[in-house]
């Protein structure tokens, strides 16, 4: 017995020592201060053509760059790898002049062939193919010119380029299948990767040969923190310098002089889908009754402590072509009751269930929506689902009501996927073959990107928006807030609603 315990003790000591080997303190004491940041999930990949995951892109934007970049705050296009571009009069060809002297992090020079390779590579990956769906051909007439030919005019083409990153052909081919899973220097951005453990931490240094000049902050250190409460504690104990805080703690944070804070409405829309193909939701008046019964303010308070911006339209006004006038449903119990009375269904009708993904903001929206509907005398259940299942049911129209939302980047055309009947599988509400004039909707989507003039586009989209809103099948609720907090010794000229630009930041 005694010997057993002795051996067990020795063994356990050995295991502990083994486990702790190589886990020293993180290197500290360097004279440049490291900026500590976090993402909400481990990095899935460092291949920018193999992810649309927001957490990945948030980081990858510091390392990789597109041809042109759309500023989230102003909506303007800024030149990055392209130093200029021109559009053919028929809108079917874009010619990009590639900036000379751009270096990849591995020291190689960027050539037009890298751009052609990147666009073609992205067009093959189902994850990002979407951004290049109208592209017919990409070619490089010379070392610093790239011509992109389109199948049809696409006013949102430049906006889409925002998410197509340029990588170094030679390095991607060298790494082959492994590209994305290990350290890479195939980017041109202001920061280059210096270490990479996808699940634990990854670090970057400022790229000295960056063509816009070396970044003021020299070192970045990222950790993934999935739990928001833990992340906030990490920020408060000084382990992070910048954080998107849980909204429940906003009041305490914004009144604390130790921190700087900014509340930015995200370019995101939370909305409710109503499946008009199911009974009794096929009744137009019933759906309008639902639309007027939604108490956006109550939802806002319950979900975001009242800090969200209530939405009248499907997309925020800062985006290109976003409508600002038209049909709007505001909470109005009287109107809701009137429409319900006009409908074929009496008070007390059970209208099915509200689907939502479990444990998040949409679940809270669903809970309030259920209470809202109860107020006009409609009953329903809530179906909280794993997010994967929820998505599957949404695609296959296996729902009655659906509380959901999504990021919309830059252009009203981004909404096309949720509505265009030819985007099979993408939409939640299926207009195709239904009772609404879906052919006209599709035509308006096409018209919307075939003209370049923004005012004209807005006109088209206003008409389209009215058509969609009149069906009362997709009901905008609010734009969620993004509560940024950061330490006072960090200078941040502006917080963008989705993707931070660390290049603009500096230490005090």
């Amino acid at each position: 017995m005694k010997r057993f315990f002795e051996r067990a003790a020795l063994l356990s000591a050995a295991v502990v020592i083994f486990a702790m080997c190589g886990r020293g303190f993180p290197a500290a004491g360097a004279d440049v201060r490291t900026l500590n940041l976090s993402t909400l999930a481990p990095l899935t990949t460092v291949d920018p053509h193999n992810t649309t995951n927001l957490q990945d892109i948030t980081f990858l934007k510091q390392v990789f760059e597109p041809l042109v970049f759309q500023n989230e705050a102003t909506g303007d296009y800024e030149l990055r790898i392209a130093e200029g571009y021109s559009v053919a009069p028929d809108g079917l060809a874009y010619t990009f002049n590639i900036r000379k002297g751009v270096k990849f992090h591995n020291g190689r020079d960027l050539k037009a062939s890298d751009v052609v390779f990147s666009l073609k590579r992205a067009a093959e990956n189902p994850k990002v193919r979407n951004y290049l769906v109208t592209v017919a051909d990409v070619s490089a007439p010379d070392e610093y010119t790239v011509v992109v030919k389109l199948k049809q005019p696409n006013a949102a083409f430049l906006n889409n380029q925002n998410m197509v990153f340029i990588v170094n052909r030679a390095e991607v081919e060298e790494q082959g299948e492994e590209f994305g899973t290990k350290l890479t220097l195939a980017g041109t951005g202001p920061y280059f990767l210096t270490s990479l453990k996808h699940d634990v931490e990854w670090t970057c240094d400022a790229f000295p040969a960056y063509y816009r000049g070396e970044a003021p902050i020299k070192k970045l250190h990222y950790v993934p923190i999935t739990d928001a409460s833990a992340g906030l504690i990490a920020f408060e104990s000084g382990e992070l310098d910048w954080y998107i805080a849980p909204i429940a703690n906003w009041d305490a944070l914004s009144s604390n002089p130790k921190y700087k804070t900014e509340l930015v409405p995200a370019n995101h829309i939370s909305f409710i889908c109503v499946n008009y193909l199911k009974k009794p939701l096929d009744d137009d008046n019933l759906r309008k009754a639902i639309a007027y019964a939604i108490d956006k303010d109550a939802m806002n308070i319950a979900v975001f402590s009242g800090h969200a911006v209530n939405a009248d339209f499907l997309i925020g006004a800062q985006n290109t072509g976003a409508p600002t006038t038209g049909i709007v449903y505001d909470y109005d119990l009287q109107k809701a009751k009137e429409y319900l009375a006009k409908s074929a269904y009496p008070k007390g009708t059970h209208i099915g269930s509200i689907n939502c993904s479990a444990g998040g903001n949409y679940e809270k929206m669903a809970v309030v929506l259920q209470a809202n509907l109860a107020e006009i005398g409609l009953t329903c259940d809530i179906n909280r689902l794993e997010s994967a299942t929820n998505l599957e049911y949404a695609r296959t129209q296996k729902f009655d009501l659906l509380a959901t939302g999504g990021e919309v980047v830059g252009d009203f055309d981004a909404w096309r996927l949720y509505c265009d009947t030819r985007a099979v599988g993408a939409y939640y509400v299926k207009y195709e073959g239904g009772k609404f004039d879906y052919k006209k909707m599709d035509k308006l989507w096409d018209d919307g990107i075939s003209v370049a003039d923004t005012a004209k586009r807005k006109e088209i989209y206003t008409e389209l928006n009215n058509m969609i809103m009149d069906t009362a099948t997709m009901l905008p609720v609010f734009h969620r807030p993004t509560p940024f907090v950061w330490t006072t010794d960090l200078n941040i000229p502006r917080n963008y609603s989705i993707f931070p630009q660390v290049y603009e930041w500096s230490w005090k």
Binding site: F4, A19, P26, P126, D199, V223, P224, A230, G231
Partner: protein
């Protein structure tokens, strides 16, 4: 003894086949497909189909299972994660030390305070020395791990600044997970030690020893303890095996890249190779841990050794 170990090792083969098939089927029943999951909302059906084809998901279940098992057995290849494209085997091997460290530390911590307090409360049954620890144990054992973890973070990271909240970079990162996980387990350990000890104290030979006038302390240490601790070792070994894969809440909270969260992410994204590979490895580890417990049992108790080397376990 060797035959016993060999037999047990061979028994792992049907377990692995059973576990992998079971998980394959269950994950297949989860609605949706990996393609639509990876591409997220707003993806077109054609892209989803292409993605599923690239992932090799379009074949029938049994064919996929056959290919999977062929690669797993003959090439030691557990496939690649659908979402990260990284080989599942390497991913698991990378995460294993974290899970082992967390589970091992937690069990050690739980033994360190659970066993002595359990013995104490058994020996001093129905006194304050019994009531306070058992009450405390029940309190701890019925707390969700995330609650203890959050409270620890508030105290030791935010207010005292002793331990970091995030990362698995230094040994300091493992202290709070150890306590958060070890406290409820220690509570269970304490209760189990107490009842096992009580059981032994009531055995005839202990009573006989007492009746023969042996000093109480000697009776407890010499006779009762050794026998009472055997089941305690079993339970600790078992919990260790279980904890490797199920410290999910703790891993999530402290941002530790362990196996539990790995598999949970896989379940959520219908990442079949991740879930199957992860659970196969967890099952193998669990079987090994149980085997180790049984061997250590035999190591301690010659009667059991004799039994093992004789007929089947």
């Amino acid at each position: 003894m060797h035959r016993f170990i060999l037999r047990r090792l061979l028994m792992m083969i049907p377990i692995i086949i059973g576990v992998s098939l079971l998980i394959f089927i269950i994950i297949d029943l989860v609605p949706g497909d990996p393609g639509s999951n990876l591409l997220g909302p707003g993806a077109r059906q054609e892209d989803i189909d292409l993605m599923n084809e690239q992932l090799g998901y379009n074949y029938p279940l049994l064919q996929r299972y056959g290919v999977y098992m062929y690669n797993a057995v003959f090439k030691l290849d557990l496939g690649k994660s659908y979402s990260t494209k990284k080989p599942v085997f390497t991913e698991v091997v990378n995460r294993l030390p974290v899970s082992l460290t967390v589970a091992f530390n937690a069990i050690m911590f739980s033994l360190v305070f659970g066993v002595p307090l359990g013995v104490l409360s058994a020996v001093k049954q129905n006194t304050l020395f019994d009531r306070i620890p058992t009450g405390l144990a029940l309190l701890l054992a019925s707390q969700p791990a995330f609650l203890i973890g959050l409270v620890l973070m508030l105290i030791f990271s935010l207010h005292l600044g002793w331990f970091p909240v995030t990362g698995a970079a230094s040994w300091k990162s493992y202290i709070m997970p150890m306590v958060a996980l070890g406290l409820p387990h220690g509570g269970r350990q304490l209760r189990f030690t107490r009842s096992s000890m009580l059981e032994t104290i009531r055995q005839d030979y202990v009573r006989t020893a007492k009746a023969k006038g042996a000093p109480p302390r000697r009776v407890i240490w010499k006779h009762a303890m050794q026998n009472a601790l055997l089941p305690v070792i079993t339970v600790a070994g078992n919990s260790f095996g279980v904890l490797i894969g199920s410290a999910i809440a703790t891993e999530t909270l402290f941002g530790l890249p362990g196996l539990g969260t790995f598999v949970v992410m896989g379940i959520k994204q219908k990442d079949v190779p991740v879930v199957t590979g992860g659970i196969i490895i967890l099952a193998v580890i669990f079987s090994f841990v149980i085997l180790a417990v049984d061997i250590s049992y035999a190591f301690v108790d010659p009667r059991i050794r004799a039994k093992y080397s004789g007929r089947r376990g």
